[in-house]
Amino acid sequence: MKERRVKANAWDYNDRFSYADNRIKTSKYNIFTFLPINLFEQFQRVANAYFSVLLILQLIPEISSLSWFTTIVPLVFVLVITAVKDATDDYFRYKSDQQVNNRQSQVLIRGSLQNEKWMNVRVGDIIKLENNQFVAADILLLCSSEPYGLCYVETAELDGETNLKVRQALTVTSDLGDISKLMDFDGEVICEPPNNKLDRFTGTLYWKGNKYPLDNEKMLLRGCVLRNTEWCFGMVIFAGSQTKLMQNCGRTKLKRTSIDKLMNTLVLWIFAFLICMGVVLAIGHTIWETYVGTNFRVFLPWDTFQISAVFSGFLTFWSYIIILNTVVPISLYVSVEVLRLGHSYFINWDRKMYHSPMGTAAEARTTTLNEELGQVEFIFSDKTGTLTQNIMVFSKCSINGQMYGMDRLKKKTACVDFSFNPLCDRRFKFFDSSLVEAIKMEDPAVQEFFRLLALCHTVMPEEKSEGNLVYQAQSPDEGALVTAARNFGFVFRARTPETVTLCEMGRTVTYQLLAILDFNNVRKRMSVIVRSPEGQIKLYSKGADTIIFERLDPSSENLMYTTSEHLSEFAGEGLRTLALAYKDLDEDYFKVWMKRLLFASTVIENREDQLAVLYDEIELGMKLLGATAIEDKLQEGVPETIACLNLADIKIWVLTGDKLETAMNIGYSCNMLRDDMNEVFVISGHSLQDVRLEENSGVIHFHCLSSFLRSAKEHILGLSRVSSAGHVEKTDAFADDSVFEEAIIAEYALVINGHSLAHVLEPQLEHILLDLACLCKTVICCRVTPMQKAQVVELVKRHKRAVTLAIGDGANDVSMIKTAHIGVGISGQEGMQAVLASDYSFAQFRYLQRLLLVHGRWSYFRMCNFLGYFFYKNFAFTLVHFWYGFFCGFSAQTVYDQWFITLFNIVYTSLPVLAMGLFDQDVNDQNSLRYPSLYKPGQQNLLFNKRQFFLCTLQGMATSFLLFFIPYGAFPLMVKEDGSPFSDQQAFAVTIATSLVIVVSVQIGLDTHYWTAVNHLFIWGSLMVYFAILFAMQSDGLFGIFPSSFPFIGTARNCLSEKSVWLVVLLTTVVCVMPGLVVRFLRVDLFPTLTDKVRRLQQSRKKQGPQEQNLRRVRRTSSRRSAYAFSHQQGFGELITSGKNIRRSTVSSLCSPERIAQSHSSSWIENMLKRKNEVSCASPESEGGAPKSVKGTVCMDPTDQAQF
């Protein structure tokens, strides 16, 4: 593609290239193109094409056995319904387009800022953005209100990350901050053509004869929101459909349900069956014409083109294809769509899945997957933000060997009153008042502890009004710690590059910030060096306890043991812990060290390593202060939900980017791992032998892993063999492991980390892994990359033939959400990325229970009943023609009136079955949740499968047989009461049609478990409509207008006034329905399923009146485990010390005598930005074969990021 040239403030110039304007159009049609485009799209569908072919066949008079309208009326009906749906969808898209297009933005036009609609923004325009505004197009940042042309954006809309990102304008443009300068700006940007890579941009700015390279860090992309920045100016580079956001709006791959696939297979089978019938009847016709028809030519001469009986048979084949086509019902597809749409609305409307704090209702974003929700066997869940809230709460601490904080689960203690502190955060809760007492007593250790928390961090404060502090924390852990310090009276109020201002117990103290020794993954700690107002230099450090403990002064040893005990207690409760330590620094020592640091930071090669060595050096011999424990709060109801889903035989695998220990902790607190489990297999690539073997040779490693997997499997199987030997004396079962998979009583769990997983996912091992994993109750994969998440899902999907569901909330879950059969997005803390990629979204993990066990189960149940009945109905309806063929010389004569054929599926029988498909409930929602085993039939595919299909069609065939042969037996000799004969074809047709409508209505009545008013209305209404239309169609009036279209005039009147006809109808109905009823009754009576039992129970309950329903309580076990989780990405430390992100109140400070420092630190910031880039690029590059969706930006949530 050609490069793109954009010149600022030069419309004429830019117009030459005809770039897209900023109007977006996601709607597909307009008023004039709607009909042709929509029709074209619709006819691309196989079903519609099939019916068009039929229609064409019908237009050939020689084979037309039905009038054209029998096909065209249903076809038009279907097309119109679909078109209306498409049109409304498109209208809403149009409306939202309009709404976006009409948003206002400030554009620099002819020397002044003018409000313009978004759609009028053009490439090359300079626009002004204000805080919290959406970026209107992809723009090049020119300057901002912040120093150095920095600005902050939130990219949640683009990549789902809520943390702020920094963008910086070119230095040359960053002082363009006023309108006249911007007016004169005439730089020209030459850049890459539009593409969808969110993290890449290459271009060059030509201005005043100079060239300036441009990269992604200077671009603000459409969809971002400006944050913490008063205003900024930018030049539009890409607009409208060429923006990166819009370029990424590809169509989602259409997911199809297993029922869909089954349905397609069945339709093919039916089609084959149809052809078979056609062939049989065509052969019959040939024989008939040869032996009978030839002779009958006296009264019925052959048509001129009818050369031979064989040719006539050939034509008859097509004629029969036409009249028997209703076995493949045209309305099936539409009805299925309508049902799914209805079920989706029920999900959207469910108040029990509405999360009021966030104001988010559950949303079915895809309307085609509902019944698959009733068949889920595997759930793949993300941890952070899905199982946990991703809210860190400071819950306990250990200060100087003294533990504070209560276990809230055990005792209902009152919340600590922080009213002594005017600056406290009211949302913060702590449950041990002794800590406050200690603070008030001015215990030095406690004070130092909180001083450390208030000083040692990279949080940015924002004081919107006096006392109203908002912290911008990079990781929730840090925010929690600083907030805790704030509430305990050490309020972090402000920071400048050189100072940190605290409000210590009401007293404002300013510390001089000498250095930030930032966090990274290897160091696993961060420190600050500050000079107190008294002139004392102190180093405060916090970090993972193992790391901190190694660097303590020997004098802290005793304290270390006590703290260590506390730490393991914290860890046992699944809390995230950090150890805190400090060190007094000697002035001279520090000066020397500082010099070396400054020197090292200017070194170009190995800067990182040199800095690390320096940091290591100073962070030695520290004194332990204590430890903090942060609760990674589980979302509400998670353990209960998991327990419930487990009872429904749904296997839940947790796939997380978190550390092994954290993941296991969460596993324990979710009750997925329990102490009473027989064995928890941990496969961790980090355990030494694995890592070393991995380095030496992959082959040995493979053997090692595989033998481990094998032995684990043997172990499980061996045990179960022993345990089952007593009951089952089947020795040959040794050969077949699958027998034992059923028989395993013991509970196992598997925990595997990403490194091992990478090897185990090789083709040789994946089977063993899968076997082992499926033998385990719980599987936890930790430290996995987004791509590995998708791979695991893919593995199960491929080998298990099971329906998989992936649930997650972050951008790192997108790949797995897209891979799984069903993707569920949690609309939680981490932006919209997962939600946008998902098929269903809601706010809380616990709603999954209701989605699957209630909505999914109902949808599946309804869909299965619907399909079974639909096939039955159409077979019963159509095959009558087949039987009639044997008595009418195989001439493709229809049994019914053509109007009846036209209307049967769309008018007479569509609504009752739709009502059943929409409203039916075998068991109400409370019982669905209370007996999770009710979910199992769906997983085993019991309600609608090939066997069920055969039974349905068989029943249909039997019904059609009876429908034909009972009147056949009764009719030949039948006369009316006035003696006039009555065995004519039209009376026959009306009788059979009436019987059919009544039989299928009775049948739907038997199939309906839940008779709402709507069901009554539709079933009785359909019957009434049938008779109304019957009489209307056969009335004198209609015949008078179109004599040749309504030849059945008067038949209904003459026929239905006969008692004998009603006797025939009654007999047919009883005979058709009875056998099914007997079978059904015997099944319920002798082999009741759980559903039957619960139904009965439900009914007896209802008679007794409502009872208190106690929900299952999940027993939580606790055990001692250690977990040290402190992980977030590389911090803002350098940014803070460089002072770049600190707002100066006056411009003069810009010109302060810091020129040298500035240039020096600008290399810091570049460095930092560069490193940030490395982090973000790491994922796609290290995973060569990642799916497209994963490529591009940072795919991990902050807590998951540590691994890179």
């Binding site: 929101v225 169509r251 104001g359 008078g1040 007997v1078 319920v1084 009576d1085």
Partner: protein, 368 residues
């Protein structure tokens, strides 16, 4: 990496979500209506022994009496049938059947004596029955023009294509057109009672009232409205090729002539099955107490015009009385008795099964 199904709405949607403390929550809470929460009051029937078994017994108890009633009624109906096809040398119509030719203008008459063993009371209906005659063949069924038969002048002059090859002869339209009309049954049947004293008394056969009222008065109409001069109305049309007389000479009675001739109407109502009977005449009951057709000897005189031998068809003449449920029809009675018995029997069997093996108290043992 990006949302694949982007909609512009989503750009908006995030603001409120990102600031949960912001206070401006959109009120998206779904309405609490029974419909939306799927709590519509409903009747939830369950198949239990208490409902199913009585149903079977009730059906059995209703069906068996109906069946017996039907069977008895059907047996009380008197019916007499003569096959006069004439393919057998002993048959009186053998010669006529053998010598049949379309060119015969003079019809061949055969005389068939028969005897009624029982007297026939009330109205007696005389049918002709045809077998192996495919009035329900698709090409046959559609070979008519209802518009023409309804008196439409345009269709009269220009019959529908469906009537081919009986639409026109020498460019003159056929009235009535089509294969059905062309193949109209045209044997004439007369009935004589052989009085014991030797005289042969012709029996009065009523030829009106044999067609459906709707057919006679709505579906079939002569062209030209009430114009009594049918000859003029049908001017320009020709008779169907097999017919001996044009359509306006079917009867002398103007109310039973042309398209509204009842024999014609009855024929045009095509039969459902290849073996059928159609009403030919009605023998009205006498006013006095004497039976309509007393026991004794009768003679059926047939003008044999209608060839069926070529396709192995058969022709019959049937005399029958009727009852409230129509003609003689043992099928329904037997079927009802059978079905009723089976239902009753099933009821008993199910009852036994239920008592022996059924789970009457299975709500207690729900396990999870």
């Amino acid at each position: 990496m990006m949302a694949s199904s982007y909609s512009a709405k989503d750009e908006d949607g995030h603001i409120t979500v990102s600031g949960p403390g912001g206070g401006t929550l959109r009120n998206k809470k779904p309405e609490n209506t029974a419909f939306k929460q799927q709590r519509l009051p409903a009747w939830q029937p369950i198949l239990t022994a208490g409902t199913v078994l009585p149903a079977f017994f009730i059906i059995g108890l209703i069906f068996i009496p109906i069946g017996i009633g039907l069977y008895v009624t059907s047996n009380n109906i008197k019916e007499f049938e003569i096959d006069y096809t004439g393919d057998d040398t002993s048959s009186p119509c053998y010669n006529c059947a053998q010598n049949f030719s379309w060119n015969n203008t003079k019809s061949c008459t055969c005389i068939i004596p028969f005897q009624l063993d029982q007297p026939y009371e009330s109205n007696v209906f005389m049918y002709y029955g045809l077998s192996n005659f495919y009035q329900n063949h698709r090409r046959y069924v559609k070979s008519r023009d209802d518009s023409q038969l309804n008196g439409n002048i345009d269709s009269l002059k220009k019959p529908s294509k469906e009537c081919e090859p009986y639409a026109s002869v020498d460019n003159k339209p056929i009235a009535p057109c089509g294969a059905i009309a062309n193949s109209m049954f045209n044997d004439t049947l007369k009935l004589f009672y052989n009085d014991p004293n030797g005289t042969s008394v012709p029996i009065l056969l009523t030829s009106t009232g044999i067609a459906w009222w709707t057919d006679k008065h709505v579906k079939f109409r002569n062209p030209g409205g009430n114009n009594a001069n049918l000859t003029a109305v049908f001017q320009g049309t020709v008779k169907p090729v097999n017919w001996h007389r044009p359509v306006y000479e079917l009867d002398t009675d103007p109310e039973n002539n042309g398209f509204i001739n009842e024999d014609f109407i009855v024929w045009m109502r095509t039969a459902a099955l290849p073996t059928f009977r159609k009403l030919y005449r009605i023998i009205q009951k006498n006013n006095n107490m004497a039976p309509t057709l007393p026991r004794g000897n009768y003679t059926l005189v047939v003008d044999y015009n209608y060839p069926v031998r070529s396709f192995e068809g058969r022709k019959r003449m049937i005399l029958s009385t009727i009852s409230w449920m129509g003609g003689k029809n043992p099928f329904l009675g037997i079927a009802y008795i059978t079905v009723g018995s089976v239902c009753f029997f099933l009821g008993v069997v199910l009852l036994v099964i239920h008592h022996k093996y059924g789970n009457r108290n299975n709500s207690a043992n729900i396990s999870n």
